[in-house]
């Protein structure tokens, strides 16, 4: 596994309500949270963490529009200039017949484009392994992690104790 060279101290919580209050007290004390892990999306976590709204959907719109243009202009060129064929006595440029394919390509471009963009931005993809701090993060525990470079070990430990973490560990990733 590729080492990130980071020393992480993390605490596990039993309940998402504990996690939410812990995260808000950490942000209140200006502690730099490395990351927060949970087995399912926790409502109201993003605004407390101060995460910005994702801009992925803007990319999605652009990919979709590209798909629309590719399909529509492509078919227009093929059926009027490149290789005109008469289908069912319809005109060469039959807009209603183009609509389903235009729709399909819009969806395809948007979906594939957004997936690829998402993987590239997050540094994920084939061969990448992400370090797992604790197995039960994907089961029933909620985790807050600090990088020991930005948050001192002592203050992290007292923070976890104060906010009711059930388990505190250190791990090199």
């Amino acid at each position: 596994m590729r080492e990130l060279g980071k020393e992480i101290i993390f605490g596990l919580y039993d309940d998402e309500q504990d996690l939410l209050s812990a995260v808000s007290s950490a942000t209140h004390d200006h502690m730099d949270i490395y990351d927060v892990y949970s087995p399912f999306p926790v409502h109201g976590l993003d605004p407390i963490l101060g995460l910005e709204e994702s801009r992925l959907h803007i990319a999605g719109f652009i990919y979709g529009a590209l798909g629309t243009l590719t399909a529509f202009l492509g078919m227009t060129w093929i059926f009027t200039k490149d290789w005109p064929i008469i289908f069912g006595g319809k005109p060469y440029w039959s807009v209603p017949a183009f609509i389903p394919i235009t729709f399909e390509l819009t969806v395809l471009f948007a979906a594939v484009g957004m997936t690829v963009t998402f993987y590239i931005i997050n540094g994920q993809g084939p061969g990448v392994q992400n370090p797992i701090l604790h197995d039960r993060i994907s089961d029933d525990k909620f985790c807050i992690a600090f990088d020991t470079h930005s948050v001192e070990e002592g203050s992290a430990k007292s923070f976890f104790e104060k906010t009711g973490a059930t388990l505190v560990e250190k791990k090199n990733i």
């Binding site: 109201g44 709204e53 069912g88 017949a97």
Partner: protein, 445 residues
């Protein structure tokens, strides 16, 4: 403020709107250019179907949410109950159309004319379904819907009075009624829309029509709900109604606008592709003789909600929701205009001996099968003027919604809102004992 009370200013405004509507209806009756008061009756049918349909969709969606164990809507479910109770008035409105049909006061439906049915093979063949008896059945179904609405409303009100429900027993009892309501609406909504709207183009049929018209009504209902809730909230009611609820309603408006477009296009493309004269006549008339309405229909009911509501934040702002809501309600009202008016005008020409369209009517009546031939020819683009004699000329109240149409719509809208607010004020705005109320109060998307 747990109960809504109608301010006297609002009451005056709504009553004034109803007076405007009544005046417009009277004017259309006396100033009608067509025979048999066709303009009056089409306006009456158009608005009755539209607002009855909105009421049906409200109580239908209420039943869907209840059956699906949904909780997000519970906070404002009284709004849908009150909208659904308009069905009682809708029953009376549609009964007037039905009585007119039985006694021959109007000629909205070509198939109701015995002389035409006798000589027209297609109409004769369809007469097992397109007849006065089945029309009365379709009216009786509004009665059935109203009965179910009253039942659901009653159960909802008894829950309020029960003083704290410990288990789900009462909710389960309500579910029995809401769940059994769904298949009834599923089948009967198709039946009524075929009878009321599709059969105006008596020679034409489309299997997708009921879904398409239903989606149109559904979008209008959601838009109406959004506008009413914004109005109530800005007047201090529903303090716990949050942007999360409006976000969800906005998503419904966005999604069902696309669904409507999907059905509209599916119907259009299949008919365009098979190029069968019996079917293409519907779109041929609308595309050639009503081009502005035909393309505007797509633009305002698809492009506007699609591009405006696509973003996350526009579904969470009152300004954009109000704008789109108003536009799509008017757009779908116009969609129904386009479903009803061209066929009715054609029937008026066929039956009335009006200009030279009448000649064609007699000719067609004489040769039922030849009618289809005409339409096939029309569909290929050579005989459009043959099939519809006077249609290329402007006909007030048919070619475009005029002031009288808009006035009638305002009248019916005010009637709808008046009945709605009256029922809303009769019960507490919040169903305090609903087991899902807490979920609705904490709703988060």
């Amino acid at each position: 403020m747990t109960n809504y009370s109608i301010p006297s200013k609002q009451r005056t405004l709504l009553l004034g709107g109803m007076v405007i509507g009544a005046i417009c209806l009277a004017l259309t009756w006396f100033m009608d250019g067509t025979d048999h008061h066709m303009r009056f009756w089409t306006n009456f049918l158009h608005n009755s179907v539209f607002f009855t349909g909105i009421a049906l969709m409200a109580i239908f969606f209420y039943a869907v949410c209840n059956t699906a164990w949904a909780g997000w809507h519970v906070q404002f479910k009284r709004v849908w109950e009150a909208m659904g109770l308009f069905l009682g008035v809708g029953f009376i409105l549609m009964a007037i159309v039905a009585v007119g049909l039985v006694f021959g006061w109007h000629h909205l439906y070509h198939w109701a004319d015995p002389a035409s049915v006798e000589t027209d093979k297609i109409l004769e063949h369809k007469s097992t379904f397109l007849n006065k008896g089945w029309y009365l059945v379709s009216i009786a179904f509004i009665g059935v819907w109203y009965f179910f609405t009253r039942k659901m409303r009653g159960l909802s009100l008894t829950e309020d009075a029960m003083g704290g429900v410990k288990d789900f027993s009462h909710h389960m009892k309500t579910r029995k009624w809401t769940a059994s309501f769904l298949p009834i609406v599923g089948f009967s909504s198709a039946l009524v829309i075929w009878q009321w709207v599709m059969s105006i183009d008596a020679h034409w049929y489309s299997t997708l029509f009921a879904w398409y018209a239903g989606a149109s009504l559904f979008v209008s209902m959601i838009a109406m709900t959004i506008l009413i809730l914004i109005w109530l909230k800005s007047n201090g009611y529903y303090p716990n109604l949050s942007l999360e609820h409006f976000h969800d309603l906005g998503k419904f408006m966005f999604a069902f606008s696309i669904f409507w477009t999907y059905l509209w296009f599916s119907q259009y493309m299949l008919i365009w592709y098979s190029n069968n004269g019996e079917e293409t006549v519907y779109f041929n008339t609308r595309q050639d003789e009503y081009p502005v309405l035909f393309y505007a229909n797509l633009a305002i009911n698809f492009l506007v909600p699609f591009f405006i509501l696509m973003r996350n934040d526009t579904k969470r702002k009152f300004g954009s929701l109000i704008t789109v809501g108003l536009i799509v309600i008017f757009g779908h009202w116009m969609d129904f205009f386009l479903m009803i008016k061209p066929g009715a005008l054609h029937t008026a020409h066929e039956l009335g001996g009006h200009s030279h369209g009448g000649d064609h009517g007699h000719e067609a009546a004489g040769h039922g099968a030849a009618e289809v031939g005409h339409h096939a020819e029309a569909a290929t683009g050579h005989g459009a003027d043959l099939a519809h004699g006077a249609a290329s000329t402007f006909e007030a109240g048919f070619s475009m919604p005029g002031f009288l149409e808009i006035g009638t719509m305002i009248g019916f809208l005010c009637l709808f809102l008046y009945v709605f607010y009256t029922h809303l004020s009769k019960a507490s705005l919040i169903a305090k004992n609903d087991p899902y109320l807490s979920e609705s109060l904490h709703h988060h998307v």
